[in-house]
Amino acid sequence: MNTNFSRRWFVKSLAAVAVIVSFPGVVFARAKGAFNAGKTNDVVDVLFGDLPIEESTEITFKLPDIAENGAVVPATVATEIEGVTQIAIVIDENPNPLSAVFDIGEMSLADVSTRIKIGKSSVARAYVKTSDKVFMTSREVKVTIGGCGG
């Protein structure tokens, strides 16, 4: 396969998504820029601004080490850290790395699960935001296309 071609196609398709996604009209407070961002660093800038980011072992980030089907990868983020206001799941190698942001209300626990798409083997990150700090943990996920185990 010609990688240059697919790369160009990929960039073009990204632009197409950006046009559609940037269409205004949603009333919710949604960090649109973060979802359109193409790099993890940009996602973090938009979501967390100047808040310090610290690696933490107090986040439980459940994700398979090897995902046979990248279209459906179960992910769970849970933590006992106090005062969590937001949880974010970021996949470095995805065209738009930010998958999901969860606004945690006072009456909900910092414990969410969903299923996400992962395009290819990547570093996956879970961010947990409190009022004055952001905690992060990361994991490698290997995606085996077609489930051949290779």
Partner: protein, 104 residues
């Protein structure tokens, strides 16, 4: 499009309710092509709002990289049997759907 309701299951354990939902939705990223080589337009859930007794407890903002027919589970503190839980979503095309249950 034929919008389907959100399926919700909930269970109270002690003072915490574990809520699980399934939302039938295509979750198209906008980068896939159909058989004719045309892009399939992006179509995905952007915002999911979860309420406990009509009070918002959790809002999820999603990108197109959440899987098709999304699964979502979360936990509510201070929940009792008989409480109501509702989950509703809005997608990038402005379609909406919701579902609710009474906790047992």
């Amino acid at each position: 499009m034929n919008v389907k309701p959100v399926k919700i299951r909930g269970r109270v354990k002690g003072v915490v309710a574990n809520i699980k939902c399934l939302m039938p939705h295509p979750m198209e990223t906008g980068t896939r092509r159909d058989d004719a080589g045309e892009f399939i337009p992006a179509h995905y859930i952007e915002t999911v709002t979860c309420a406990h007794n009509d009070k918002e407890v959790m809002i999820a903002h999603w990108g197109a990289s959440v899987s098709k027919d999304p699964y979502f589970s979360f936990k509510i503190k201070g929940a009792n049997a008989g409480d109501s839980v509702s989950v509703s979503w809005v997608d990038n095309l402005g379609e909406t759907s919701s579902g609710d249950i009474v906790l047992k």
